[in-house]
């Protein structure tokens, strides 16, 4: 994945969400346990990926939390992307290490650098799935 394109996509997504300082915004989301802000981080990552591919996908994400009761974000996020026309899961990963194949992509996003890394890896996974055999 071209790093310059990833950075450009993140900048565009950041502008759409009217976020001035990306690093500080992401850090606040988990340091202060702000669920709403963490939701925006997840949505912005999704949007950056869509900008990279020039199309929309269907998304589900989880803002993860160590504390089930208080729901304080711990900086970990899970994403599922599905192709709206074919119904293909684009975050499918066949990891031979684990018994189960995974339907989701998981990333720690606690800084702007983490966000760049997450968008890059998520986009690469989606690209791999798009290139794989189409669903019947």
């Amino acid at each position: 994945m071209d790093m310059e394109k990833v950075l450009q996509a993140l900048r565009e997504a950041q502008a759409e969400y009217n976020i001035k300082d990306l690093d500080s915004f992401i850090k606040t989301a988990w340091e202060e346990g702000d669920v709403l802000q963490a939701q925006f981080v997840a949505e912005m990552v999704e949007r950056a990926v869509e900008i990279l591919f020039g199309r929309h996908f269907l998304w589900v994400h989880i803002v993860e939390s160590e504390d089930c009761e208080l729901w304080l974000p711990d900086g970990w996020y899970s994403f599922v992307a599905v192709h709206p026309e074919t119904g293909q899961c684009l975050t499918f990963l066949n990891d031979p290490v684990y018994r189960w194949k995974s339907a989701s992509f998981r990333a720690r996003i606690r800084s702007a650098d983490d966000a760049v890394d997450a968008v890059t890896r998520l986009a690469e996974l989606i690209e791999q799935n798009l290139k794989s055999r189409a669903v019947g």
Partner: protein, 147 residues
């Protein structure tokens, strides 16, 4: 409880749930206690972060057993500002075709299309587990046939 679009009887579903539960007990090297006993604790402590919540695992394993192959899964414990709601949201993917088996779209008015990626249900009692397994089977089974 009716099983529309499914070839499984309620007895088969109960057996799959029981097998899944026994597997979990064995893997955890835990004492032999019933799922009903576990659910009694579950109802008291489900919001406790230390409580081992095995409900998604039981449901996933039961569905995999009944379908006859392991699917790729994603499960969310649904929360609201007051904590875990007791609702679970499942996404299932066929590993061969990568098709999202819980994906569906429909329209109420013929104009606006609504997209759903997951199948969700609340679990409080044993019957709720059966109900959710049936709900998942009813969604997944026809999709597997056409995959």
């Amino acid at each position: 409880m009716q099983l529309e679009q499914s070839t499984y009887t309620e007895e088969q579903i109960k057996q799959a749930i029981e097998e899944a539960w026994q597997e979990l007990l064995q893997e955890a090297d835990a004492e032999d206690y019933s799922l009903e006993e576990y659910l009694e604790h579950y109802r008291k402590y489900w919001d406790d972060p230390e409580f081992p919540n095995d409900i998604p695992e039981i449901i996933i394993r039961a569905v995999d057993k009944l379908i006859g192959k392991p699917l790729a899964w994603y499960c969310e414990l649904v929360r609201d500002p007051s904590g875990f709601t007791g609702e679970y949201s499942f996404i299932a993917v066929d590993p061969q075709t990568r098709k999202c088996l819980t994906y569906r779209q429909f329209t109420f008015d013929g104009v606006n299309v609504h997209y759903f990626l997951s199948v969700a249900g609340t679990v409080i009692y044993y019957e709720d587990i059966i109900r959710l397994v049936i709900k998942l089977l009813n969604q997944i089974q026809p999709e597997l046939v056409t995959a």
